[in-house]
């Protein structure tokens, strides 16, 4: 593994995102929606609210916080391969010594850093806002350690899952928008699982949160390996799958 090559990919990708209007608009607008909505929800909960009402409101916030790492990364990740193919930059990159694994890690890291950074930043803002202005009953439920640990662990792991899905779709589609839509759709089922915790259908505890996080980590590692295998230079350049069976007669 070459850190210099991976860093180069990350730096280039981030520079490109920052100058891409579509990415900037999505990365700017979606977090604002996810920031405004929970604040409006939480500040409408009165001090006299019942336990069920509070849990429902906090559940919505938790879920929204976990939607961010699922929805944001595909915007970038789905662009990573098919976008380069579209603009004709993929072939020159593939002629350099960078192995597929390093290229993919660089691209995944470039999608991971801003989306997880944004997700954590929004979560932090929401927590600060709740600490400063929300009803006491809400604060008690939100600042529950297992809930916090689950959120902190799940945000990067869900983002990674979503990123690998996005890159996988990107290696096999021929249109950027289709890739982004498919990647976002493919990432949604995992939210069904997180909503069980957000709405406390599965009671969060520290061991459960860590156990689930480890399971997610294993899934992420598996996804990374599968994506590396899906990355077929020949298919990306010519549209045909590589045929490794060489004709013996001509050898």
């Amino acid at each position: 593994m070459s850190r210099q090559r991976i860093t180069s990919v990350v730096r280039k990708e981030v520079r490109e995102f920052r100058r891409n209007r579509f990415v900037i608009a999505t990365m700017g607008i979606l977090p604002l929606v996810f920031l405004t909505s929970p604040l409006l929800t939480i500040f409408r909960v009165p001090e006299s609210a019942s336990g069920t009402q509070v849990k429902a409101a906090v559940g919505v916030i938790s879920l929204l916080m976990l939607i961010i790492p699922v929805v944001l990364p595909p915007v970038i990740a789905a662009y990573s391969v098919v976008g380069e193919r579209d603009q004709g930059t993929l072939e020159p990159v593939l002629t350099t010594p960078i192995p597929a694994s390093e290229l993919l890690i660089g691209k995944a890291a470039a999608a991971f850093l801003p989306s997880v950074g944004l997700a954590y930043a929004i979560y932090a803002i929401v927590l600060i806002a709740i600490r400063l202005g929300a009803a006491h009953v809400v604060r008690t439920v939100v600042f529950h350690p297992p809930e916090l640990i689950a959120q902190l662990l799940f945000i990067p792991l869900l983002a990674l899952w979503s990123i690998w899905l996005g890159i996988a779709v990107s290696t096999r589609t021929s249109d950027v928008r289709v890739a982004q839509q498919l990647a976002t759709l493919a990432g949604l089922p995992v939210l069904g699982f997180t909503s069980l915790i957000s709405f406390q259908i599965i009671k969060p505890s520290v061991p459960l949160a860590i156990g689930l996080a480890l399971a997610l980590l294993a899934v992420d590692v598996g996804a990374a390996r599968i994506v590396a295998r899906l990355f077929d230079r020949e298919r990306l350049v010519t549209g045909h799958r590589a045929d490794t069976r060489r004709a013996k007669a001509t050898n």
């Binding site: 900037i24 603009q87 072939e91 590589a242 490794t244």
Partner: protein, 421 residues
Amino acid sequence: MSSPHWFQGRRIGLGWRPASWQGWVVTLVSVAALVAAVTLLRGSSARAPVAILVVAVYSIVAFATGGSRAATTAHSEEARDDEPEPSVVPEEQRRALRALSSGRVVSRSDEPALVVEHLTKRFGDRVAVDDVSFSVAPGEVFGFLGPNGAGKTTTVRMLATLIEPTGGAARVAGLSLEPENGVEIRKRVAVMTETPGLYLRLTVAENLEYFAGLYELARPRERIELALAAVNLTNRASDVCGSLSKGLRQRVALARSVLAEPAIVFLDEPTSGLDPVASREVHELISSLREHGTTVFLTTHRLEEAERLCDRVAILNTSLRTIGRPDELRDELFRKAIVVRTAAPLNDPDAVFAVSGIEGWDTEDGPNRYLLAVTDARVVAPDVTRALVAAGADVLSITEAHHSLEDVYLELVDDNKEDAS
């Protein structure tokens, strides 16, 4: 295509300042909203969240729209596209190329740069490249010619380890063309694809910086400066590639190709779509590459370009049709000939052309223009002149027939069409 750069500065909290009126409007509105929230919502529990929200919105907008100074400068200079392109200064280019190629590692000096043996590529049932064999010497400029779909790009892609051959073998820059040597081969070669393939939102220097990183170059800044000097683009380093003309983009792609001191440079139609001046500049650069020992594998449709630049050419039409020096190919395919033009048709051409060394004759483009097949034009021409004068012919001209590489190419391609039919 690039995003608005309302804020200059590279990171949150460091050196932020609005760069345009839009940035100032966003800043003033945000400050007003913050002051309003703090003063109007005094005593309310919503004061802190609203203030936080305003700061968050402002931060996101500023972060999202802030661009680097280089990009901002280039963005504002898109109009410069119409300016004349800088002219090439060959001596400066040569100096930069010399410096660029000073550290090149070559495998063994006596070993060919490329050895291709029975290389074949099939896509399903379609044969793209069929049993192609040739070798290229180090420092040679080798032309690879052929009609569209002949398999030129496929051959380059195989040799650059982008796609795997179906059959055959090759050695590229001293390494066997095997999947396990892919990374090592790609360190020793560079490919300039037909389209420049630049990141249009990045500046010229940022594009090269990316590739310098991928090649893990030591002292990348120095290398980038030399590569830009080699293509005479030093003064456009901060320009966004999207604002460059096609010719300049092609030059950036060339700079990228020579960045990593490759032993072999594959150039796929490097002058495609360029005007004559830009094409000449690319030709000069290719000549400079040869002078400094780089092997150049040139794929082109421009036959005069191949004739002018290449030591040898190969003509491909799925299979290899011929290979050799352009003059060798001409001699091989066309008989030596003299063209005689007279003011009026000769009365008895058979008698006039009964000169030793003439193997046959025919009229060409009219009755008073004769094409004589000869053994050696220099020996036969004086005898023919004397015979014409003796016959009382009014001679307008006697010239040696010249066949271009284009004639060779067309002859072979037409042969292929006949074979196919």
